[in-house]
């Protein structure tokens, strides 16, 4: 199995529901707490497994805001695992999830240097590194209904932009989405082969940007009068 996420950038509205839901579930989960510092101040800081990046593509008026949720990509060639001196970071053979053994991590921070996606964050209270677990304490919990055995962020997403599944199964929902919608990895050129994929935003029909036609004589007079009155 190769479990991971597909995130549809076309429908993600950047509402941050996934980040909050992730924080809520995981702060009381196996890797919790996700410590906050000064959460109600002007300068709140803390550990988040999932952060949304926002950026603009194109030039106005043909521009678009892309909301890009980013968490651990559970890379196949995970450099963060290779560089960990104690072996606290590891990749599970059975499902490909990258995890950190909180009892072995000594908080050297070297793995966070090695991650090109900025997915690893040091909990400066517990002194250990933390990251997305793909809600491992949830997806295998047989006490939950089968439909609930998904990462918290996937269940929460109001626009259904997040999908969870097995990339090794060509007929799974995630494999199908990637195939049909041209899903891609983030920065594949680095060679980490991230498991998570992104579905690209749709290409918008360009908005005409030609200069407006010159106005009639009446409209020019009206414009001159309005300008004079406003003075």
């Amino acid at each position: 199995m190769k479990l991971g996420l597909v995130i549809d950038l076309d429908v993600c509205v950047g509402c941050h529901a996934c980040t909050v839901s992730c924080k809520q579930w995981n702060t009381s989960g196996a890797t919790g707490p996700l410590t906050d510092l000064k959460p109600y101040d002007e300068d709140p800081q803390g550990v988040w497994f999932n952060r949304i990046r926002h950026f603009e593509v194109g030039d106005s008026p043909n521009s678009k805001t892309v909301n890009m949720p980013m968490s651990c990509m559970h890379c196949e060639q995970a450099d963060c695992v290779d560089v960990c001196p104690t072996g606290a970071s590891y990749k599970r053979v059975e499902d490909g999830i990258v995890l950190i053994d909180q009892d072995k991590c000594m908080g050297c921070n070297y793995c966070s240097w090695a991650c090109p996606y900025g997915a690893r964050e040091l909990d400066r209270d517990t002194g250990t590194m933390k990251k997305c677990t793909l809600c491992i304490d949830r997806i295998y919990d047989e006490n939950l209904e089968e439909i609930d055995r998904q990462p918290s962020c996937v269940i929460t997403c109001p626009s259904n932009a997040r999908h969870f599944g097995d990339f090794d199964d060509p007929e799974s929902n995630v494999s199908t989405l990637v195939r049909q919608r041209g899903g891609h990895q983030l920065m594949p050129e680095l060679g980490y082969s991230p498991t998570n994929h992104y579905l690209p935003p749709r290409i918008m029909k360009p908005m005409p940007t030609a200069e407006a036609k010159p106005g009639s004589l009446i409209s020019s007079v009206k414009k001159w009068v309005n300008q004079s009155v406003s003075r």
Binding site: W48, V81, V83, M106, G107, Y117, G118, D125
Partner: protein, 389 residues
């Protein structure tokens, strides 16, 4: 051949204990800083999710790199068979071990979980450069300790081991410094480090800073004893420093040019060399002017004779510290380039600024203090100082 006699450093007990008490005061402050950071968490440091290695790491790596270079004089005497350096081999090795001890203690005490070092010592991940470095640092103590024994002991066994241990020590230093540089050189994810030039740069810098540190310490020891260091050794050390400055300058230049023109990492180069504020100032003023240009002028100018080696060595060490600050902090301050050509905003607060906090500064000074503390005791109780050189 003239036989060299060695003695314990001849300073008054009052002076000796006052040095130790001063250093102990710094160590107490460093211990307080460590326990403060342990109890409050790393929130009290200036480090954050973007800048994960701060001033303590800069100082620790500075001490480690200097340690490797400080043993240079011992290698010159034994491996390269330069008799002029041989009387100073003992001091060179003890200084190297003291520096490494100081550097490792700072790194250890700045870990998120310092108590878990035992895991790093017992669970090696052999894919990790970091784990390899733990082995290299541990091995350094053993090899340098044995090397020192082979120099100090006058038995036949020790004499037989002397040359092999000298060669082993030389090779080990070479690998250790390359390994320390590779901690950064293998980081593909960070544009400022993704270049294997880091290993030769660290080797050259270690020779430069280590030799400067040794020169300064030797001059201080002689001054404490009220003796004059011979002009021959001063001149030789000055020439070594000049050569190292040229090599470091060339490698540093090659690294930046390769990064900019071949690797295509223009953004991070422009950031560090032009836009990074204090880090940029540290590069141009600290590393280039103070660390490379001024020392070579001082060492070459015939008119500036008096104390020129001491001043040049001090400047080189300051420049070396700036160099490591620029490499470690500067490289982290450049945000990850996730989306080229796009201005990105991020949910949550991801700081990309860094300023060292007081506990970090105290811990860092503690590393220097423990180095000097151990070295001072060693030169007082062991026969390390040549009597007639």
């Amino acid at each position: 051949m003239q036989r060299t006699d060695f003695h314990e450093i001849e300073i008054s007990s009052r002076r000796f204990y006052s040095i130790l008490v001063t250093l102990a005061g710094v160590l107490v402050a460093a211990a307080y800083a460590f326990f403060y950071m342990e109890s409050q968490g790393h929130f009290v440091t200036g480090m954050n999710n973007q800048v994960v290695w701060g001033l303590p790491h800069v100082v620790a790596i500075f001490l480690i790199v200097t340690a490797s270079g400080a043993a240079n004089v011992a290698s010159l005497g034994s491996v390269f068979n330069k008799p002029a350096y041989q009387p100073y081999g003992r001091i060179s090795l003890v200084l190297a071990m003291s520096l490494l001890l100081g550097g490792l203690l700072v790194i250890l005490l700045d870990l998120g979980h310092a108590d878990r070092l035992i895991i790093a010592m017992t669970h090696f991940n052999f894919d990790s450069v970091f784990a390899w470095n733990i082995l290299l640092y541990s091995g350094f103590f053993v090899i340098m300790g044995l090397y020192l024994w082979s120099i100090m002991d006058r038995t036949a066994t020790a004499k037989r081991c002397y040359q092999p241990l000298a060669y082993l020590g030389f090779v080990w230093r070479f690998i250790l410094t390359a390994g320390t540089g590779s901690i950064f050189g293998v980081l593909v994810a960070r544009e400022y480090y993704d270049i294997l030039m880091m290993a030769p740069l660290f080797i050259a810098s270690s020779y430069l800073i280590g030799t400067a540190c040794f020169s300064l310490v030797l001059l201080l020891l002689y001054k404490l004893e009220g003796r004059q260091l011979s002009e021959v050794i001063k001149s030789r050390l000055a020439i070594s420093l000049c050569l190292c400055i040229v090599v470091v300058t060339l490698i540093e230049l090659a690294r930046h040019l390769l990064n900019y023109f071949i690797m295509g990492y223009t953004a991070v180069e422009v950031f560090v060399l032009r836009d990074a504020g204090a880090v940029t100032l540290m590069f141009w003023l600290g590393q280039v002017v103070i660390g490379l240009v001024l020392p070579i002028i001082l060492l070459y100018l015939p008119s500036v004779k008096r104390s020129r080696l001491a001043i040049a060595s001090t400047l080189i060490m300051l420049g070396g510290l700036c160099q490591l600050y620029v490499i470690i902090i500067g490289g982290q301050l450049q945000p990850l380039r996730l989306f080229p050509n796009a201005v990105t905003e991020t949910s949550g607060n991801l700081d990309i600024a860094y300023s060292a906090s007081l506990p970090e500064l105290m811990l860092s000074l503690g590393g220097v203090a423990i180095t000097l503390f151990v070295f001072t005791i060693a030169v007082k109780v062991l026969r390390l100082t040549p009597a007639n050189s």
